[in-house]
Amino acid sequence: MASPRALGGDVHPAMGPPVRHLVSAHWLLAAIPALVLVVFFALPNALLLTVSFLKSEAQQLTGEVTLENYRFVLSRRLYLDAVIRTFAIGIAVGALDVLLAYPLAYFLVRTTSRWKGWLIALSLAPLLASVVVRTYGWYVILNRNGVANDALLLLGLTTERIALMPSSAAIAIGLAHALLPYAVLTIMGGLDAIPPNLERAAMSLGASRLRTFLSVTLPLSMPGVAGGFILCFSIAISAYATPAILGGPATQVLATAIYGFMTQLLDWSIGAALAVVLVASSLALLYLASRLGSRQVSL
C-alpha cells in the first residue's frame, strides 16, 4: 500500500485536510492557553521569585541579592506555625469535603428521581452566594454571642460562653462548607464514569451490596475522590477571605501573612518569600499526591 507521501502529499485520500494543517492547528490550539499561562502565571511567579531574593530596607526594595528573606521566614516559629497551620487546614478541609460529598454525590448519580436535576442544582446552590457572605454566616454562628454558644449553654454542655473563633477549627469548618460543591461535582464525575454493569456483575456473582461497594465502586471512584480532595486542598491552602474573617490576625495562615506583608507592611521581599514557600510546598505536595495516585492505580 502506498504511503500518503507517495501519493503526492502528507495526506491519505480518505483523511480530508492535510495532516500538516491539522498539526499546525493543534499547535495553535495549545499555543494560546500556553501563552496565557506564560504571561499570567509563569512570568508573575518568576517576578515573585526574583523579588524574594532581593533585600528590602525600610519597606523599599534594593538591588542587593540575599537569602535573608528565606532565613527570616524559615527561622521564626511564627511563620513555621503558619505553614503547618495552612497545610493542616488544607488536609482537614480536603478530607472533610470528600467524606461529606461522597454520599451526596453517590445519591445524586444513582437516584432515578424526576427531581434529579433540581437536586443537583440545589447541592451546588451555595456557589451562588459569595464566599464572604457564607463566611459571615459562620461568624454569626461561631462568635462568642453566636448561635453555637447559645445552643451549648442551652444544652448545659458549657457553663459560660467560650471562644469558638478565632481558631483553626473555625477556618476549617468555614472552608469545608464553602468548598463542598467542588468535591460533590468532582466525585459525581468519578462515579458517573463507572459502568453500572460492573456492579450488577459483582452482585450476580454473589457479592453483597456492601462488598460490591467496597470492592468495585469505591476503588473505581478513587480518581474522582482524589480529584475532589486535591481541588479542595489547593483552594483551601490559598484561601484568604475565610481565614481572615474566622482566624483573625492572631491565627495566621500563609495567605493572610502574605497579604499583611504585601499590602499592610509594604514589605514585598518577605511577602514574596512567603508566597514562594506556599507555591513551592503546595506544588511538592501535589506532585507527591499524583505519584501516590499513579502508584495506587498501577497496583
Binding site: A58, Q59, Q60, R76, R77, L78, D81, R144, N145, A163, P166, G248, P249, A250, T251, Q252, G260, F261, M262, T263, Q264, L265, L266, D267, I270
Partner: protein
C-alpha cells in the same frame, strides 16, 4: 452580446470618496461621545468609603464638581497602605488621580520612591495655611487635610471612665477580673496599634527607640484581651454588642459612633495623644494632574474644611478657622496651641521598624 466598452461618464462622487465621507460623518457623529469619555475634566479620587462615603461625597466631592464643572469619579476602596501598594504595583499609575487618604508613612515612602508628585504653594496656594507641624511630619508630596488622634474609648455602661493609658495596658489593676476578655488589641498593620504601643513604651520609660517596655506591657495585657482585629472598622460590632469595654480608637471614628448612639465615650488620657494626619497626594502617573492640584487646594478651602470636619468628627488641616461649635471644640484640635500638645512620632522611624514590631507583636499574641 458584446458589452458597451465606451467609457462611462466620470461620477461626481467616486465610490472611495463616498465611503470616506460616510466614515467621516460616522466619526463626526460619534465624536461628542468620544470627547466626553476622554474629557480632561474627569477626576478619579480615591478616598473614604463605607459609612463615610456619603459624608465625603456631600462635603467635598460634589462641591468640587459644582465649582469646577468637572466630573469626579469616586474610588472608595482600600486602606492607606493598600492604596499605596496599588500605586507602587502600578508604578505610579494606579487608575486614580488623587490618593486622598494616605498617612505619613506612605507619604514618606512615596517621596523616597518618587511615586508621588511634588506639591508646593505654587500649585496649592492653601498649603501655607496648613498646621506648621504638618511640613515636619510629611514631605512635600501632598497636603495634610485632616487631623485626628488615637484617643481612648470605653463602655460607659460597664466601667468607670479611664484616666491613663495604663488603664488600658494594665486593665486588671484598675478594673479587676471583671474586665478579663473585654479588652481589644490591634495588629500593628494598623497605625492605631503602633501608636498605642508607643504609649505603652512611654509608660515604662521607653520610646520608639526602645520598645521593650511595650512588649512587657503587651504580655501582661494578653490574658485580658478578648478580641484581636486589624482594621479599625472591624472593632465596631464589638463596641456595639458590649463585648469590648476599653480600647484605643481614632478620634474621628469615635465621635462618629458616639453620635450614633453606641454606649461609648472618648477621652484624652492624662499622658496625651498621638496625632495622625490624613493626606492627599497625586501619583506620578495621574492622568489629570492639573485638576488634581486644584482638588488638593480645594480640599483645604475653609468652607470645605468646616463642612467635612463637622460631619467626620475630625480636626481640620488648618488652624485659621474660627467659630466652631462648643461641643466640637471639646474633643477636637482647633488651635496651634492644641496641636503643640499632640505628639507626632517620626513616621520615617516607624516605617523602618514597623515590620520588626509587627513580628514581635505576632509572636506575643499568636
Amino acid at each position: 452580446m458584446s458589452k458597451d466598452r465606451r467609457p462611462r461618464p466620470r461620477p461626481i462622487v467616486s465610490r472611495r470618496t463616498l465611503i470616506r465621507g460616510a466614515a467621516g460623518l460616522g466619526l463626526a457623529g460619534a465624536a461628542p461621545n468620544v470627547i466626553l469619555a476622554q474629557t480632561p475634566e474627569t477626576l478619579v479620587v480615591n478616598t473614604q468609603g463605607g459609612e463615610y462615603q456619603e459624608i465625603v461625597e456631600t462635603t467635598v466631592l460634589k462641591p468640587f464638581e459644582k465649582k469646577f464643572g468637572a466630573r469626579v469619579v469616586h474610588d472608595p476602596t482600600g486602606s492607606a497602605s493598600q492604596d499605596y501598594a496599588k500605586i507602587r504595583a502600578a508604578r505610579g499609575a494606579p487608575g486614580f488621580d488623587v490618593a486622598g487618604l494616605l498617612t505619613p508613612p506612605e507619604m514618606i515612602l512615596g517621596a523616597r520612591e518618587k511615586l508621588l508628585e511634588p506639591v508646593t504653594e505654587r500649585e496649592v496656594p492653601n498649603l501655607r495655611h496648613c498646621w506648621s507641624v504638618a511640613s515636619r511630619v510629611i514631605p512635600n508630596v501632598g497636603v495634610a487635610h485632616t487631623l485626628q488622634y488615637a484617643a481612648m474609648i470605653y463602655n460607659k455602661e460597664k466601667i468607670e471612665r479611664p484616666r491613663s493609658w495604663a488603664d488600658y495596658w494594665d486593665p486588671g489593676k484598675r478594673y479587676g477580673e471583671r474586665i478579663r476578655g473585654h479588652v481589644i488589641n490591634y495588629n500593628p498593620a494598623n497605625l492605631l496599634s503602633v501608636y498605642a504601643l508607643i504609649h505603652a513604651a512611654q509608660l515604662g520609660g521607653g520610646s520608639v527607640d526602645n520598645m521593650e517596655p511595650a512588649w512587657a506591657r503587651l504580655r501582661a495585657q494578653k490574658p485580658y484581651v478578648g478580641v484581636v482585629v486589624t482594621a479599625s472598622p472591624e472593632a465596631v460590632p464589638y463596641f456595639e454588642n458590649g463585648e469590648v469595654w476599653i480600647s484605643p480608637y481614632w478620634s474621628a471614628r469615635s465621635g462618629y459612633y458616639i453620635a450614633r448612639g453606641l454606649p461609648i465615650d472618648m477621652l484624652v488620657p492624662e499622658e496625651g495623644v498621638i496625632g495622625l494626619f490624613d493626606c492627599a497626594a497625586i501619583p506620578v502617573g495621574a492622568k489629570n494632574k492639573k485638576l488634581a492640584y486644584e482638588f488638593l487646594n480645594f480640599r483645604l478651602e475653609p468652607e470645605v474644611q468646616r463642612a467635612f470636619s463637622l460631619a467626620y468628627f475630625s480636626s481640620p488641616g488648618r488652624g485659621d478657622i474660627a467659630d466652631w461649635p462648643a461641643e466640637f471644640v471639646r474633643t477636637q484640635v482647633t488651635t496651634e496651641a492644641q496641636v503643640a500638645m499632640v505628639q507626632f512620632p517620626d513616621s520615617e522611624v516607624i516605617g523602618q521598624r514597623r515590620r520588626d514590631w509587627t513580628v514581635r507583636w505576632q509572636e506575643i499574641m499568636a
